[in-house]
Amino acid sequence: MTVSASRQSTQGPPRAREPRDLMRVKTLAALQPCRLSASRALMVRAIRERWKIARLAFDLDANARGSAFYRIETPKRTFDFPVYSFEFSPKGRTGRIIGRSWDMMAALVEGPMSTADIMSTRNELPKLYEGRATPGTLIWCRSNRSSRAFDHTVERLAAGLQPNLEVIGQVCYLMRNTGLDGNGTFGTRSFRVLETDHPLRGALAAQMLCAYLMRVFAQDLVEHLARCRSPSAVPLSRDIARYLGVGNGSALGLILFVNNHPHLIGRWLTAREGALAAAKSLQVAPDHPAVAHLLTLLDRAIRFRSEDRVRYEALVPSERLAEELKAMRDIVRRYVECGRVNGQRPVYPFATLCDALADRVLPEALETLHALLIEIVPDVADAFAEDLIVDEETVTRPEMPMARLREILHRDYRWALDTDMLAPGARRYIWYKSANAEEPRRGPIDEVPWAFNLGLDVPSLAQAVDLALAEFDDRTPVARLLLARPDLRGFIARVQSLADLRYHTPIMNIMDDGFVPIDVVRLMNVGLHGIDKTRDYLNRNLRGVLFHGAPLPDEIAAGTNTEWFWPQEPAR
């Protein structure tokens, strides 16, 4: 298998990849967690600023019924995290949002919370869809146990033993996020107007802090339940506690999210490619510390993949990636030994390395190398991450001449204009939400002909705009087209608003029966969120682990354990 990559190392400083290469769905699906992924970026900031996470209350019975209260102190703000815990029930349980059974619910609230707000949250949160958040609330969230790993861990701790890696290593978490609602939902604060000094202002930061706190609570909960069973119970070892992250399940809703958040996608990919280009632009001699650092990081990645116990369905198995990473490491070692990559003495060794590998390794392996290279330029990456404040409003530019709109359309949507929408299956599917829990679904149109389509059919819209433009003189302002074709107004506003971004729209026809939803879910979960060990289900759902190996609260407060990702399996 081959991948496309920029090959400019012999023609000047490396640049970011062209959209026609990067925006292919198979390339986006192969992106790996990196320093710019939301979970990792949050940890960078939390460790740098030494956030303090304290458990102020923990009032649960032996069946897990009760409440807990956590406080997060950052240099500029305090946040509270009241948790409501419930007894495990198998009824109505599913990872889908149509589920009705949750093991915990919690709120992330700007604090310190008043007594009235604590009381209100206690009353409102369990109602979920019928409830209403207090004004300073950022997120309402809920999660479920991973029963096998959770129960096993409680049993082992109660017996004075640590959990078996054979069991917990198959999922690497105790509880899995089953819903994070914020940014206006249920009356939560709109993220766009968070203050400039707000530590959770960056894209997805509030959601990631909630996920981290779910992990903290899950570990406190297993220790509590073990103690309730036996006075001789032991706490989780710190190595295992660090190894256990928090689970996450995602599905079709993320394809709609990508459609509806082109600015976020575009800004994030621009940041990622910018950091990568900065790393590739380093002119490093074989004895430069950055080369040694890359070798250390490759060792870490190889070990992580080699130790992976997760079973994958369609995705690349970790052992194969480990082998390819070993081959990469050999090339870097040869550069250290003889100063050559692929037979040449490179000006930009990292760029030459990437170019040499692009056609020889799996896309996931190449993107692993890219993710590691970004670690070589942490200051550049962190500056990009801090700047990810995004506004998704799209506005028309009615004075734009038709010729300019056509130029943008042909430049940015060439692939869409070239898509054969008359081909069999090209329009087979529809995207809709169910009346039940508003679950995003995708089905053949003939099975749900009454559904309102919510999917963005980019090829059809681009072709329709192109056809409509032919009816107008080049100098006529777009206002006339907007007037003549109200059905195209939304797409034209989108095209105009995104004209300055390079990477906003994946190259995909989501209506086609050949479209594989999991590819775009991977972009979001693995790339943007930073989820490891993602397992695929029916090509449309993905489950994996966030904060796998992340520092424990006391390590964050001490500002330590900065290079935590892709952890080594704990010693037995």
């Binding site: 599913t94 506005v395 009346a435 489950r543």
Partner: protein, 239 residues
């Protein structure tokens, strides 16, 4: 998402919630999909500008379903301005087009004046004063018996959309009955649940013969997928 019971009989809706409800209802009126966000913005900015807003929408939603497209016909254009007929359409349907036409003129060196006739609920043409903030412009609307005039006062302003900023910060306080009424109506844009439809999502699937497809490492309650608990109204929304 739903009517709330927090502290009073008024509920403060976020921009996100308001948009979601408006766009869902508008989808059910038969307006073209691509036109829905713009009309939704007209209503949202009407609410922000303390015009008719959501209450008027709840009362006038049927008028929107009778849209005649294109929303306006150009009657003429001269150095003094541009003249359009709203074809009897509601002001919310014509506001975006009218604003685009006048801004296009102004930005190409012509006068920034537009006269609009034959509009339904002409009072709501004033929403263009609020919508202009989206474009970095300021306009003045003078309402007449069946229309109004629009004049560009300023353009090219770099500051953020103050109308949207205020709405994002403080939301829209509305009576609970209104929210409930709109929320319930918006449900018509959602697809009725069925066992077949449940196969269109999820990590595992139960086919018509009851066979499970996919791996289940989730402790799934399969009754949810087989249909004996097909409906549970308390569950409504998720990510």
């Amino acid at each position: 998402m739903n009517a709330h019971t927090y502290a009073s009989e008024e509920v403060t809706l976020s921009v996100r919630e308001t948009r979601m409800i408006l766009e869902r209802i508008l989808l059910t009126t038969g307006l073209p999909d691509g036109f829905v966000p713009a009309v939704g913005n007209s209503i949202l900015y009407s609410q922000a500008a303390k015009l008719g807003g959501l209450a008027a929408f709840e009362a006038d939603v049927d008028a929107l379903s009778k849209a005649k497209l294109p929303t306006v016909s150009i009657l003429g254009e001269d150095p003094e301005g541009i003249y359009v007929d709203a074809n009897g359409n509601h002001a919310w349907l014509v506001s975006n087009d009218a604003l685009d036409l006048v801004l296009a003129r102004y930005r190409t060196g012509k006068s920034g004046d537009l006269e609009i006739r034959n509009a339904l609920v002409p009072f709501e043409l004033r929403v263009m004063e609020a919508l202009a903030y989206r474009h970095g412009a300021r306009v003045k609307v003078t309402v007449s018996a069946d229309g109004g005039t629009l004049q560009v006062l300023a353009d090219g302003l770099s500051e953020p959309d103050a109308v949207m900023d205020e709405a994002l910060r403080h939301g829209f306080p509305v009576p609970q009955w209104l929210w409930r009424s709109l929320y319930d109506r918006s449900g018509q844009a959602l697809t009725p649940d069925s066992i077949e439809s449940r196969r269109h999502a999820g990590p595992v699937m139960v086919d018509a013969e009851g066979r499970v497809h996919g791996r289940d490492d989730d402790d799934t309650d399969f009754e949810l997928l087989r249909g004996s608990r097909a409906d549970h109204p308390q569950a409504r929304e998720g990510a």
